[in-house]
Amino acid sequence: MLPDIVALTTSPSLSVPWWKVVYDFSSLTEWIDASLHNYMSPFWTTITEMLIIGVLILLFYAVIGLFLVYAERKVCAFMQNRLGPNRVGPFGIFQTIADLFKLLFKELIPIKNADGFLFNLAPFIVIIASFMAIAAIPFAKGLHAIDLNIGVLYVMAVSAMGVIGVLLAGWSSNNKYSLIGAMRSGAQIVSYELSVGLSIITIIILAGSMQLSVIVEAQRDGWFIFKGHIPAFIAFIVFLISSTAETNRGPFDLAEAESELTAGYHTEYSGIKFAFFFLAEYINMFIVASIAATVFLGGWMPFHVGHWVGFNYIMDFIPPFIWYIGKTFFVIFLMMWFKWTFPRLRIDQLLTLEWKYLLPINLVNVLIMAFIVLMGWHF
């Protein structure tokens, strides 16, 4: 029997439109959980569920990574009056898969005098950090691997772990360019982590919770970017800037800076180890875009306007997953737009921007937001 029909037939209120029930993934996951419990002990049920989720997230990870690389190429081609990949498959959609195979078959060049253990460990740290962060992101109602009550904090904490991998990569490569790149990256990520945190705190004050599902639910009648007046908008801008910097993307790609440091911290990597860094960059971009979409733009919540019942009704018809992906890709497109139009900053200008401008703006912004929430001036 299909889970949806179970949910439909047992649904207490028939006034709820059928698609709302279908779009709610929690009934599906609960049904899977219940049926697994019928066959095995709770311990093995947990193990099996973890395996299923692990495989699903890995698959999603790979697909999203490949798609983002393709999207970046197409967007960048669009910005530069080019066509982009258009030979492998229709519109070149298999180009990234072909590239993946190329990277898989390439030789892993051993580096003389490199610290072998750390050199091999670094790409895994980078990729595990991004892999862990993706687990807590709510893709749709009931469609998240784990719903921690400190979800935002967790995502920020694990995604910041990636910098360890970058530092190790730069240090262990036995290459002077790599070392400079790693040092830059360390200074940059540690600084911009503050701004990311503070801009999210602005919204946490408004939402009153750090649990991602609660934050999304709180945006049922209006996204926080509209609800929170100007402070929320400022926080969104600051978050965009600092998260672009945190993912080491242009115009803040000083750690790579191919015209200065050849390729920065991953100069010496080849083959699949390089692919790990490459993939992790795009997944990190996806993660920060997801956070921006979830915290500021309502996550999977459709666009609702106050008492326009008909309008809200139509908006509800679009599946939440589509809403979520659409918002995320909107933010990703913005970040790609930055990268392909701006020149790169210098390291001292980068740190000046953070410590002298973004941080004070952010601190004041948090205060204003707290005041607004205290007075109850938000919608």
Binding site: R82, I180, S259, T262, Q349
Partner: protein, 374 residues
């Protein structure tokens, strides 16, 4: 609080030296810069040249004068036409040949087109050095249009070999005038787009203003010429001071700036593009009728003596010095190449700045490495 340094080895050994090049994305060729760093700061730069040394000056001694132009093509390959013009003018001066107006005008138009495409390529690469990758495609897109015009008339795109002692290799293509006019019309609209993409950007201003300041005195004493020298206020435009070909009959400004920083060098080149378009517009409708080459002897022999001719390439002053002993080969040829002098100033203006500034300054000097090594 005082900064304490733990010194375990002599100062010389504590330097963090990196090799920029010979294989490096921002040296645009095989220039090797030994850069001593202190953190991100550049302490000193030691350029090592010679990685693409091809012995052009020595080879010139064993070939005839019309053959030399095929070597000078390869020197500063982005402004190949102007290099050839220098050799041809020198040979013609030595032989005291009167060059018809048609040749002069066509040479001037071609020189200015060469300058335009050279500056377009420079703009593209300079943007890329600063991390704005889109600039590269904008610059190359427009440069292709000039190369297409070259291809139609000269057969070659970059290495044109269009000049020869006594005139031109062949007459201009019937489409030449129309296509050049179309291009100027197109590029007048496109050049403001360059400004929108890079010149007006606040990050670009931050990266280039006050970086790598070169004073007028230093520019003169280092022999820095071209847009780089003129951005420091050194009036060194050979086209103005010692007009050759048809430059004495056109109206144009010598672009002079006084700031001498990377931004001034950038603006000087952008302004030069506008001036080049003005020059071409004045000449393109007034190409006189006449032969495209003067009848020369089958074997050109220069009378015994020393001859010097200088021209303004896209990067500065190129001097060609020929000593002839009366044979069909020159006795000695010396090129005073602009890039060599421009490179010599790099350590002077870039030390004390950051690595990223070194790349920006290097880009603003617009170095072509085969011209340095020759």
């Amino acid at each position: 609080m005082e900064e304490k340094e733990i010194i375990t080895t002599p100062d010389e050994e504590q330097e963090y030296v990196i090799n920029m090049g010979p294989q490096h994305p921002s040296t645009h060729g095989v220039l090797r810069l030994l850069v001593s760093l202190k953190g991100e700061k550049v302490k000193s730069i030691q350029p090592h040249v010679g990685y693409i040394h091809s012995g052009i000056e020595k080879m010139c001694e064993s070939i005839t004068y019309p053959q030399i132009i095929h070597l000078t093509d390869r020197m500063d390959y982005i402004s190949a036409h102007i290099n050839n013009e220098a050799v041809c003018l020198n040979v013609e001066k030595a032989l005291e040949i009167d060059i018809p107006d048609r040749i002069k005008v066509i040479r001037t138009i071609m020189s200015e087109l060469t300058r335009l495409q050279s500056h377009q390529l420079w703009w593209a690469c300079f943007g890329m050095d600063l991390g704005g990758l889109t600039c590269f495609f904008y610059g190359l897109r427009d440069r292709e249009k000039i190369l297409d015009i070259f291809e139609e008339t000269c057969g070659g795109r970059m290495i044109v070999s269009y000049n020869c002692p006594g005139g031109l290799m062949y007459d201009i293509h019937p489409n030449f005038q129309k296509r050049v006019k179309d291009f100027i019309k197109y590029f007048r609209k496109i050049l403001p787009e360059y400004d929108q993409l890079l010149t007006g950007n606040v990050i670009f201003h931050e990266r280039s203003r006050g970086i790598g300041k070169l004073t007028k005195e230093d520019a003169i004493s280092f022999g820095v010429t071209g847009p780089t020298g003129r951005a420091s206020g050194f009036s060194c435009d050979v086209r103005k001071h010692e007009p050759y070909s048809a430059y004495d009959r056109v109206q144009f400004k010598e672009i002079l700036h006084t700031e001498g920083d990377t931004f001034a060098r950038y603006i000087a080149r952008i302004d030069e593009m506008w001036e080049s378009m003005n020059i071409i517009e004045q000449l393109i409708d007034n190409i006189p009728e006449g032969p495209f080459a003067v009848k020369m002897k089958p074997v050109i022999k220069l009378p015994e003596g020393e001859y010097y001719q200088r021209v303004e390439t896209a990067r500065g002053e190129l001097g060609v010095y020929i000593i002839s002993d009366g044979n069909k080969n020159p006795y000695r040829v010396k090129f005073r190449s602009p890039n060599f002098s421009n490179l010599s100033v790099l350590n002077h203006i870039a030390s004390g700045f950051k690595i990223a500034d070194l790349v920006a300054i290097g880009g603003s000097l617009d170095l072509i490495i085969p011209d340095i090594d020759r």
